[in-house]
Structures are given as C-alpha cells and as structure tokens.
Symmetry: C3
Amino acid sequence: MVGENCYDVTKYPAGNPREDIGAVINSIIADIKNRQAVADVNDGGKPGSVIYIPPGDYRLVTQVVIDVSYLKIVGSGHGFTSSSIRFNTPASELAHWHEVWPGGSRILVDTSPEAADGEAAGAAFYVKRGGNPRISSVEFADFCIDGLHFIDDGSGQNDAENTYRNGKTGIYVGSANDSFRITGMGLIYLEHGVTVHDADALAIDNNFIAECGNCIELKGMGQASRIANNFVGAGYRGHSIYAENYAGILVSSNNVFPRGASSVHFSGVVRSSVTGNRFHSFYPGMLVFAANCCENLVSSNHFLRDREPWAPMQKYDNGLDDLFGLLQIDGSNNSLIANHISETIDTKYIKPPEVKPVIINVVSGSGNYIASNHIVATAEISQKDKSDAPNSACFSTQVSALLSTGNSTLLDVTTVLVQKESVRNTVLDSGNDEQVVMDRTVNAFRGTPVPGQ
Amino acid sequence: MVGENCYDVTKYPAGNPREDIGAVINSIIADIKNRQAVADVNDGGKPGSVIYIPPGDYRLVTQVVIDVSYLKIVGSGHGFTSSSIRFNTPASELAHWHEVWPGGSRILVDTSPEAADGEAAGAAFYVKRGGNPRISSVEFADFCIDGLHFIDDGSGQNDAENTYRNGKTGIYVGSANDSFRITGMGLIYLEHGVTVHDADALAIDNNFIAECGNCIELKGMGQASRIANNFVGAGYRGHSIYAENYAGILVSSNNVFPRGASSVHFSGVVRSSVTGNRFHSFYPGMLVFAANCCENLVSSNHFLRDREPWAPMQKYDNGLDDLFGLLQIDGSNNSLIANHISETIDTKYIKPPEVKPVIINVVSGSGNYIASNHIVATAEISQKDKSDAPNSACFSTQVSALLSTGNSTLLDVTTVLVQKESVRNTVLDSGNDEQVVMDRTVNAFRGTPVPGQ
Amino acid sequence: MVGENCYDVTKYPAGNPREDIGAVINSIIADIKNRQAVADVNDGGKPGSVIYIPPGDYRLVTQVVIDVSYLKIVGSGHGFTSSSIRFNTPASELAHWHEVWPGGSRILVDTSPEAADGEAAGAAFYVKRGGNPRISSVEFADFCIDGLHFIDDGSGQNDAENTYRNGKTGIYVGSANDSFRITGMGLIYLEHGVTVHDADALAIDNNFIAECGNCIELKGMGQASRIANNFVGAGYRGHSIYAENYAGILVSSNNVFPRGASSVHFSGVVRSSVTGNRFHSFYPGMLVFAANCCENLVSSNHFLRDREPWAPMQKYDNGLDDLFGLLQIDGSNNSLIANHISETIDTKYIKPPEVKPVIINVVSGSGNYIASNHIVATAEISQKDKSDAPNSACFSTQVSALLSTGNSTLLDVTTVLVQKESVRNTVLDSGNDEQVVMDRTVNAFRGTPVPGQ
C-alpha cells in the first residue's frame, strides 16, 4: 500500500481537527502503532510516520501523547505575531486591525491544566516512553502552538494577559530521548514553550519562541545538543534558554530579545558553549551560571542591557539589582572571551541608587579565564517620558530606544568583580585597573590599556 | 472542507502559471482574503495559507502583491547555477552544455520595470500593507527567482550581461513587518535580491543569493533580525549585505564571496553582530561601517581579499583604492575581536601605486576596541597571465588562485590606521609598533610582540 | 500537464520501492531526462524535479546514479537511532526493545560493494556528470541512509558491528559540482557518509551523520562551502570532518562527538574557518592541519578530550599518543584565537607513560598566531571501574562521565609546543612561561599572567 505513513489531520477519518486536533493525532498514533507492531521484520518494521497540519486554526482539547519513534509532525507556517502588543492595545484600535490572532498551521491550546498536576499535565504535546531504546527522532517542524491567553496570577495587578502564566506547555518531553528535532516552530503565549528532559543530540533550531513565560528548558541531565538560530524571548520572570546538568550543549547564533529574567541560565552545566549569540535584556542577570558550572565557553556574543522602553511592561522586572552582575558566574574553569557587552541606562534607574553596576560577577569557583571582552557602559541622558506613545507603537518605541546611542555619557561600572570566594582566575583586557575589582594576590590580571597613559 | 488553505499553482483553476505565475498567485491571495474575511471568529479566523510551486519554469509577468499575514510560498528547489559563467561562455561552447538556465521551482522574472517607478515597481514579489498590526510571518522558501538577463548600462562597454543592472528585485517588502522568514531561496540575475524595510525579527537564512547586483538590503529602520548561513555574492558595484538604521542584527555564519563592492555595509547600524562569517572580496572596503555605527561586534570572521582571477571581470572593480581600508569604521564603541584578515595581491595592482595598503581604517568616532586580530598580508609573485584560460573554466581558475598561498612574500601594510578625528580607541595585539598608525597620546595601544624581539 | 515534476517513489509505476528504491529512482531520473530533453526552450527547459520518499523502509539494491541538475530528493524523517548501542546490547535485552532499526524515510543500503571497485562503487547515491556546466543544485533532504551492518575487518577481534567497515557510502559526488545542498539527513552505519569531490558553494547543514566510519569528506579541490549545524561523529579510525585542497570553507556551529580519529582534519586547506563548533573526542589529534594548511581561522570553538567511558569501545583508539597534540598544525599564517580547550584524563592512561601531554603542537610552517586560548587540563582521580554498567546504558555512562568535573586535580601539560622547524609564530595568553615550549628567539611570546605573580 502506498502513502500509508503520511497523514493529514484534515483528511483523517476519525475526529474533527478543528474541534480537537489532539484527539485526531492520538488516533493517528494509535493507528501507527497498530500497523507497525513488529520490531524487526525484513531489517525494519517501525519507520514511523509524518503527520501534516495544513495552515488553519486547530483547537487542541486533548493532550497529544507521543510514544513512538520517528514521528514527524509538520505544518506549513510558524504563524507568529505579537499577542503581547495586541492584548495591550485598546479594543477601539483593535476593531480596525487586519487580524488579531497568530496564524499558520496553528494549534489553539485550549486545555485547563491544574497547577497541582505539574507541567506535563499542561503540555499540548507530551512525549514519554519507558523501556529501551530511548525514544528517537521525533520531529516537530513549521507549525504554531498558541496558548491563547495568560491568566490572572493573583498579584492584584489586574493585568492577566501580561502575567506569562497559564499552566500551558507547548512541547514537553518527559523521558530520555535521542536525536529529536524541533525546528521552524512558532510558540507563543505559553507558560513554558519547550521543555525537554534527558536529551541526547537534541536540535532546537530556527524556531520563533517568544512571548512565552519560559522558552527553552533542558532538564534532568543530557548531552551533545544544539540550540541554534532561534528567535527567543521569555517573560520577565522566566527563562529564555535554561539548562541544568547538561554537558556539551552548543547555544549558537540565537537572537534572544527581552524580556526574559535571563537570556541564558545554566545550572550545573559543564563543557558547553555559548557562542555567536545576540542577547538583549532589560535587567541584570542576562547570563547566569549557577550551581558550579565548569569549563564552559562564552565567546563572540553581543550583550545589550538597557531599560524597558514600552509603557505596559515598565512596571515589571526580574527583581535583580545592578550589583548582581549582568553576567554572574558560579563555577570553575570557564572561558569568557571576545564578547561585546553594552549597558546603557539612565542613572536614576540604577538599583540600589548610585551604586556602580557590576558587569561580570564571579561569585565562586576558580580558574576562570576572562579575556578580550569589550564593555561599553553609558548613562542615558533623560528624555521626556515616551510613555505617552500609544501601546500599539511598540515597534517604533523599541527601535527608537535602540538607535539612540548618541545621547549618552560614560557610565562608571565595575567591569569584572571577582568575589573573595573565587581564586586563581585570570582577567585580561576586560577593563582597566579601576574597573576590575578582585584580590590581585590570588588572581591574575592585566588591565586594558588606557588611552593616553 | 479540507485542504482549503493549501494551494498548488499548477492546480489552481485561474490563469496559467507557466505564462504568468504572478497573476495566478494574486488570484490565490484574493481567494484567501475572500475566504478568511473575519478577523476574530472562534479564537482565530485568518490563519493564512501555503502556496506550493512545484519544480518547473514559471514566467512572471504580473507583480505578486502580498498583503496577508501567514502566507507561505514554497517550492522544491533553489535551482541556482551560474548564469554569469554561462553568459561569458562562447555560444560555440554553450551548444554542448547540458543546460543553460537555472532550475528548481523557478520564477522567470519577465517584467519591464521603468527606473522612474522605483525599486518596488521592479519587484517580482511586493509585500505591503498599511494599518495594524504589522504584516506578520510571510515566508518564502525553497524556490528560485531568476531575473534572466542584465541589460546595457549605457557605459559603452557593450557588456550587457555583466552590468548587474536590470531594474528587477526578487522580494521587496515595503512596510513594517514582523517575524518574516526567507529561507532556502535561490536568487540570481536580479539587480536587487531581497530588500526589506522596517523589519522586526526577520530571518534570512540558508539562501543562495548570488550574481545579483545587490543581495540583501535592510532599509528604513528595524531590529532583532538574523542573516545567517547564506551564500551571498553581489556584483562589483552592489552590496552583498547592507543595513541602515537597524539595531540588534545578527549576521552569522554566512559565506560571502566576490564580487560585491562590499561584503557588509552598515549605515547607522548599532548594537549588532557580525560573527563567524567567511568573507572573500576582490576590492578594498569589504566591511564598511558608515554614518556613525556604534556598539557593534565584529568577531571570529575570516576576511580574504585578493585580486579577481577571472578574465571577464578583471576590468571591473568598486573604485576604492588601497588606502580606503579593507575594513573602514565610522562610529564609536565598536568591537573588532579575534578576526583573521588575509590580503594577498601583486604589488603592481596596488592603488595608488606603492602605497602601504590599510587594513583597518578607523575614520571617526571614539572608544572602538580592536583586539586579537591576525592580519596576514602577502605580495603575490607575478605569474604568467592566466587570462588565456577559457572563461568557462571559472571554477578551476578561482580555486587555483585561492590555493596558491606558497608563491608570495610578506607585504608591508598598515594593519590599523586611526585617523586624527577618532580618539580614545584601544588597539591590542592587532599589529606591531610599525604597523599600527595612530596618535598614541589619545588612543591606547599594545603592539603584537615581534618574533625575536 | 500539472505536477509532472513531482514524483513519489511509492506511486511511481515502475519497480517496487520496498524491494529496490534504487531502480525506482533511476527510472524516475530517466523519465526526467526524457521529458526535459531540450536545453533552452522559452528561457528554460530543464528545471529538474523533486522525488519524495515517504516514511517507510526502502531497500536499495541498485545504486542510484544522478546526472541531472536541480534534482531534489526529500523525505519526511532523518530517522536516526543508535545502532551502535543496539549492536552492543545482548539479544536477551533486545527482545524487549520497542524498535531496533533506524526509521523515518529510510534507505536500507543492501549492496555488496567490492573493495577493489573503490568508494564510488559502494555508494547508495552516486552523482557524476562530465561536460559543462558543472552539475548544479542537487539536493538531498530529510531522509535516512542506513548501511545496516558493519562487517568483520579481519583483525581477529570478532567484533564485526564495531569495525566501521562495510564498503558502503551514503552520498558520493564524483565530479565538479555547484550549489549542492545536503540538509536534514540522517546517515548511519556507513563506512563513508558523504563524500564530495570538487565542490563549489556546497552546503552540508543540519544533518545527523554519526556511527559512520567517516562522516563528511571533501576531496579533490573546491571552494566556498559550508558545513554547519550538523551532528557528526565518526568511528575510531575515521574522519568526522575532512577536507583536502579546499579554500574558503566555513565549518561552523557543528556539534562533533566521539569517536572519530579526528574531529576536523584538513589537508592542504587554506583560507577557511572553523568557528563556533563544539568538539568532543576520546583521543589526541582532534584537529589536524596537515600538508601545509595556510591562513585558516580556528576561533570560538570548544574542544574537550576525555577518555572513552563506554566499555564496548574502550579497546579501540586512533593510535596517536599524547605528544601528537590535541591540535596539530602543519602550515603557515593560521589563527587560533579565543578557543576553550579542556583535557581531562586519568594519568595512568597517558601515552607514553608520564609524558606531559601536548595540547597545541605546531610542527612546521611559520607566522601562526595563537592568542587568547584557555586550556584547562585536569587529571581525573581514579574511580572504581564503571565497565560493569550494562552496555545499553551508554547514555547515562557518557553523561555521568561528562558531568564529573569536580573529581580532578590540575594536570601538567604543554599548552603550546612550537617545533624547531616552525618559526615566526606568535603565542599570546595561551599558557604561561612554563607551559609554552618554543624557541623564543625566533617566535614571539607573551605568557598568560599567573595568579599571584
């Protein structure tokens, strides 16, 4: 029989994909398992299938549960648009909008997860399989998962659509896995975009994962994975890119924009790379290495921190002050080489008031190598408040803020602070004698030469 | 109804895609707008569509005008081949060629734009929509746009197919946009490949855009975009990668080959990254930062400049001399770190004669940080003229030239020149005391140590 | 006629793709050539075609021979799983496995190549065309090529499935070519994954090429190509990424895991880049520049060498000892900048016993620039032998080994060794005075400052 391993959710005889695409896909998976029942027949037997989601709006009421290898779910459109701008635009303006929802091959996640049931329960796509081998080569490509709305967080702010909370996860992988691919997706308005446990050789490439509470989270333990060429931007209290107890990750060429609590947060991650990314944040703590991260490379990245220019979000931040470090390092033998770091802020917003902001803060460990980093710190000169721009003008507000490099003076910062707990570090050409603060009897130092001296 | 949002240009009932695919696609877009007329119905309503272009030759007479979000136009083949070699090969040889045109899912741009009508008028695909929200998530993937021929430029050279002029643009985006994707395309023999105004989170990835007058141009103003993993190579008077008034661009892992007037030209671009690219050029001015570019990072790139080895193009260049700088920087607080820069040229081709070529030329601004760059300058020893190789042997001529590293002597160059107008720059390990020319009383300097000294 | 250039191997009237997909594809190619017979008709004529391979198991008995441009062969699943783990797992355990073979759109290479016939004879897909122009824009995407088994190598080890030998090649390109793309593929259990001669503007991106004897090999001569964003890992005697006589290659953002004899091996390669990769190896000789490689850039890479932790493979290695250099450079004017290099090994495994391992070994040439590299060398403290872990627990064994950064002491190494044959090199901030061994009268040196000195 031909074409038996190609499914189209709109042509499958069971269920209605417009009303519950989850039930349809689960039915397809059952069909695959029924048809591909024998593990070894004629040197094969379980090649898996592809499930196609044409452009359209598909409500998901039933969670999809994937426990077969070699399943590819693919659409024809990542369908991102900014729901954040939309939900901060007055209804009177919205009435004239061309469209108000994301699109493409779009899953509307219409589940009602209970917080008590945990993250897995709130997942639109839940991958889990016990036994051996690890589930392999599941692929998600080129469709949109939209969490629709955020919900009130009980803070009394009465600002539900800006909470980044709704208990929903786009893709949740709960068991050890190999050679998965998540590519070309659009994920939006989910509390968690992609959460993967125990990954080996996972690729998360070329996705658009933004306006999610958290975007990419690697949990459990794992190795040899890549997060590359994504557009990423979490909410003010979430992670844009997070990993714990992983080795050999390559975080490369991502464009990570605000407003994540961090751009990259590693916990106990070792022998991994963060190279060639562009990071933009509104808060300190852009890159955090916690819980003894060792032997990682951070190179050729562009870091920019400035202040939130868009009125609806100016009341939120990640709670960290300017002594935390734009980058904070807990761990040993890491390398920070050849990065550009820009911080620009009106001095009246520095917290605590009048402190010198810390750019790279080494809080523990030893043997870190910090060399050839260029740190540019400028104080914006106060302008008239821009908050009278309409909320729908988010784009022009942001770009205008970014382009305003001229209207500033130099800001005095500590470019590198090595805490007493940390020793045998080497700091080269990453700040002059006054900008680098550490015990020079137990660390090595060569200051960036100062013009005219 | 199923599959309603999937179109195939060869199966659409209106028009003939072989004769005018533009009219067919416009008819499809009208159908999408007619079917998806309501902005908000059942949490959706305008998911867009996918239009498939199977492999084949499709003439485009009517400009495609796109004003709907979430439209994906996709083919099955980028179809690049070198029309430049073909048009410089004698007809007698061509008679034996297997094929002479590009292929794949190929659009033959057969419009006759008037220069007076501007670039938009000459576009095969023209995206424009007023009002709100910005048009979002339009995607172009995996097809070929071929401008067919260049035309005489009135220079009297009688060399029409080598002018890089025909008034045609492949994709022209004329209004503010969000989360567009241009991936896997092949663009050839267009005066402008891709021109995008006012982009937010634009991805231009994995394309093959070559033998175009200009390849990638970001205009207006914009932010947070990525140009990655492309093959790019403009004509001798055009831009390979150009941007103006953008912030937060990531230009990463591109392989940019000759013969663009520049490899990267930024004008008023700030807080952006150029990392991990391979650049090859035949002229000075490979990377130009003009009009006060600030806080950009240029790192881990490989720059190579040598002389055009292919006879048909040796009479052309970009008009710049060797004092212009292989890289020219107008702006402040930029970082040039960890780049390799090779220049190799027969001294008889240096312009003005016998000057010391300038590699990095800082012409204005302040606070630039230039560190750990390795500059290799060699003088080729003259060989017998290779121009008697047949024009069709472009490939072997080019590779032979590139591989000939052995036959050279050291060339005396100024590795870094900081003009008087520019102050407070820092130059470290990017040339020795004699190779770096600047006022050391107002800039900081540490020379690369010299062997044996 | 519509859709004539779109083929589906399961719907083509000739042959049975389950029994011999090779014969089916050859028949399709013959049909394309028959239908597209005229080189220039109405500005086109030979646009090529797309051949779709749905998910499924397809045996290949007849070699596919490709001699038409613009042919795209595409599947819906790379289908990788670890056959290496499977073949090292006892049958009693396998009986409970969910699946045992790779999947996706999977080619089972069931040919019986004779070694005497050479690599081309053993290729599943063989691309070759004489004459002009060079064959262009052939694309392979998103399917799996599985060599099924390795065979006994006559070594007497009686370990056939671990020999990485079977005479099979996945894709072999034997003649000059332009603008090819190999993307999203899964290649496994082939003696050679992808071998391409004489490439121009070749893209090998986003593939999973592992458990092959050799993975990516660029031969002959060529230019301006890209190997990016791949997962790669060859066998203990093969190359993960190999190139000879190429210029302008960009090897970028790959995650290269063990156990290749090398991660990158260049022979006579010039003016190329190795940037932003993550390399992991179990042996010395991770990066080898042989036969006078010149003007290449190696930057922002993470290198890790430790010892094979998985029992079935611990008896194999690449035969090199610790004096060979983790990186060995034969050539001139190369740049090694801003890399992190970790070596961790129990001192009892150092060969020859008790030598100081060499990290960067410059064996010939001149003018190399080695700056801002951070070399971390640690001696693992012996633990109880982990080889009693079951072989199927490869993943947890590997990750546990990688995460064990704490249990070690500093290891004394030569960070940079410049042999007498090599002169006029510059070594900066890549080891202290004792760690860098070279003739300081003919090379330039600045040691990394030492803490407390």
